[in-house]
């Protein structure tokens, strides 16, 4: 046996194409996911320099950021329409598979990769989107890149990267009833800060992580970037293998068993050393609600906004409270909302919708609230409809939409109006993220569903109809 290694070291070492002292490594990329917003300038760059796409077969594109989630046949936004058409033309020109607006595989890029089995353990995966970290849930090394790097990967199927440091986020014990993966990742970011992962790849370990489903693991890894880490991953185990079985792009039969054995071997070795380790106790975590303008500004639902006197960074807290229209020491349960968004690459998968539906079943959305559900992919939408979830939501007064990024970043017309306040299952509560002047509170799908009914934040654990 050689020296024990982390999964990051194993994947990295296998993908180095060229290494030189004092320079980043040239890393081979196994899967390049492409969407309409961060790719047009990259393709244009290829054309200007008379270059081509090296491996269209390792590239996969979809439209998600701009797509309307209703009335798809009439896209009024001409600029958005042109951007989507540009992607279509680029994919055609370079032979890249594209799940466009009417394709059965269309959806949020970080939802469809795993759904199709394109995402696999041990792969290096990039996309011009910071939430590419989602794919780390499978034990892939996956990170977001800029448009220049998109162009670079298109042209060379490789990327220059400094070897990252490793950060072990160890979650001991188990989450309490009614406490979700979303609460866990929000609590991690609240505890350690929005930049504690900078320069690192996070590996999430510990009993609580092992007991999460693949969908929950995706929620965790998705928000690694909100802790500053470009990538966050979880060592593959039987849960990973089971999820991938029979997926479209995954090997079948004996080839699958061989692949699965290799995947399990990728897990971090006993005794491997991380550059940094932090620990958090799962049992202490409560349902979370963000109160401020970055994802670290988060407290348990039964707590209050910070006191300015006690705050370390009083200026930041003051500015955030002002933007959010909140007072210091204000109980979270007193905050009334007027919008609810259930969706995004963080929380739009089937189990998210099932859990939210269980909360709203037989109840009515509060009169002051406009609530929408946006499934992560067309396929999830179909499955949910098969189970009758759409009916549950619609009968409660939710709008049921087509798949896309939607109100997470409000590039299409799913926008929270100025001064509006939204309980959102997405990942970012930045100023103006969901619309100019809009106020975002990040929560789990269960907490969002309960808030939709009550018109304010309530502890979902005490909410009638809540499942444990």
């Amino acid at each position: 046996m050689g020296k024990p290694e982390t999964i990051v070291e194993k994947i990295w070492n296998k993908h180095v194409v060229h290494a030189e002292e004092g320079k980043p490594d040239l890393l081979y990329i196994d899967l390049h996911l492409v969407h309409e917003v961060t790719s047009p300038q990259a393709f244009e760059g290829l054309r200007l320099n008379n270059r081509t796409v090296r491996r269209p077969d390792l590239t996969y594109a979809t439209v998600d950021h701009n797509v309307p989630t209703r009335n798809r046949d009439i896209i009024k936004d001409e600029v958005a329409k042109k951007q989507m058409e540009t992607l279509k033309n680029n994919c055609k020109e370079y032979g890249i598979p594209l799940a466009d607006m009417y394709h059965p595989d269309q959806g949020i890029v970080h939802v469809i990769g795993p759904q199709l089995g394109l995402t696999q353990p041990g792969k290096t995966i990039v996309c011009g989107d910071s939430h590419t970290s989602t794919h780390g849930a499978f034990g892939a090394l996956a990170f977001g890149i800029g448009t220049s790097e998109v162009e670079h990967v298109l042209a060379t199927q490789s990327i220059w990267q400094e070897r990252p440091k490793t950060l072990n986020v160890k979650v001991e014990g188990n989450l309490g009833p009614g406490v979700t993966a979303k609460d866990l990742i929000l609590a991690i970011i609240a505890k350690f800060g929005v930049k504690f992962g900078t320069g690192h790849v996070i590996e999430y370990t510990g009993e609580a992580i092992r007991n999460l489903s693949m969908e929950e693991r995706m929620t965790i890894c998705n928000m690694s970037i909100e802790a500053g880490a470009r990538a966050g991953l979880i060592s593959p185990d039987e849960t990973t293998v089971e999820f991938l079985k029979e997926r479209e792009y995954v090997p079948k039969g004996d080839a699958f068993n061989e692949a699965a054995a290799a995947w399990l071997d990728l897990a971090t070795d006993e005794g491997a050393v991380y550059d940094k380790t932090v620990t958090i106790q799962a049992a202490e975590i409560e349902p979370q609600v963000s109160w401020g303008t970055n994802p670290g500004m988060c407290v348990p639902v039964n707590a209050a906004t910070p006191s300015l006197e006690e705050a370390e960074n009083a200026e930041d807290v003051k500015r955030a409270l002002e933007y959010m229209g909140l007072e210091e020491n204000q109980p979270i349960s007193s905050i009334e909302i007027d919008h609810v968004f259930i969706g995004s690459c963080t929380n739009s998968r089937l189990s998210d919708l099932q859990k939210a539906a269980a909360i709203v079943k037989g109840k009515k959305v509060n009169d002051n609230v406009r609530a929408i559900v946006v499934p992560g992919s067309f396929s999830i939408k179909l499955q949910a409809e098969k189970e009758g979830l759409d009916q549950v939501f619609k009968e409660a007064g939710f709008e049921w939409r087509e798949a896309g990024c939607s109100m997470c970043l409000a590039m299409n017309d799913d926008v929270v109006p100025p001064g509006g306040r939204c309980a959102s299952t997405s990942n970012r509560n930045f100023e103006g993220r969901q619309g100019n002047g809009a106020r975002t509170h990040l929560v789990s799908p269960e907490m969002a569903a309960a808030a939709a009914i009550e018109g304010r934040f309530v502890d979902v654990r005490e909410f009638a109809g809540a499942v444990s």
Partner: protein, 193 residues
Amino acid sequence: MEAIESHKGSAYPLDRSNVDTDQIIPKQFLKRIERTGFGQFLFYHWRFDDDGKMRETFSLNDNKYKEASILLAGENFGCGSSREHAPWALHDYGFKVIIAPSFADIFYNNALKNGLLPVKMDEAQVKQWMKQAEDGALELFVDLKLQTITDDNGREVAFDIPEYHKQKLLNGWDDISLTLHHEAKIEAYEKRN
């Protein structure tokens, strides 16, 4: 990419930490398929009100910072979305150097690829320069070759930058051309796997 050896300019202090790329360039401006013309939208909702009128209360709109080309900012600058539109907007607006105690990883990389020099600098030093720029005016001379920044009084401070990035900025090298020198190795890798 435009090469950068040194830059002399006046500084604008943005005393905020965790400035995210949604603030640098809001999403409604990401639909364009061009790489240019994003400067007008920089810090859009901080600079303009809901009617598109300039907010007098936001310091970048102050006449004294009109010619500023060096941005002084708080820690974790450029966090959030990977949008390269952020460095495009900063560069197009006229900023050539950003000095902050720390940068988000993706933004740091994106800046380097666009001839926008991100300088990591001790927080106390950044704060001191911010105060100078607020109280009066601050001109800085940033020498990438020597890795030094000199202020109006001739006081010199050194900064770190990985040699690899420095050489690329100094020469304005295009990453893809450099990588294609290793094309045989990429092919060999593909054959092995």
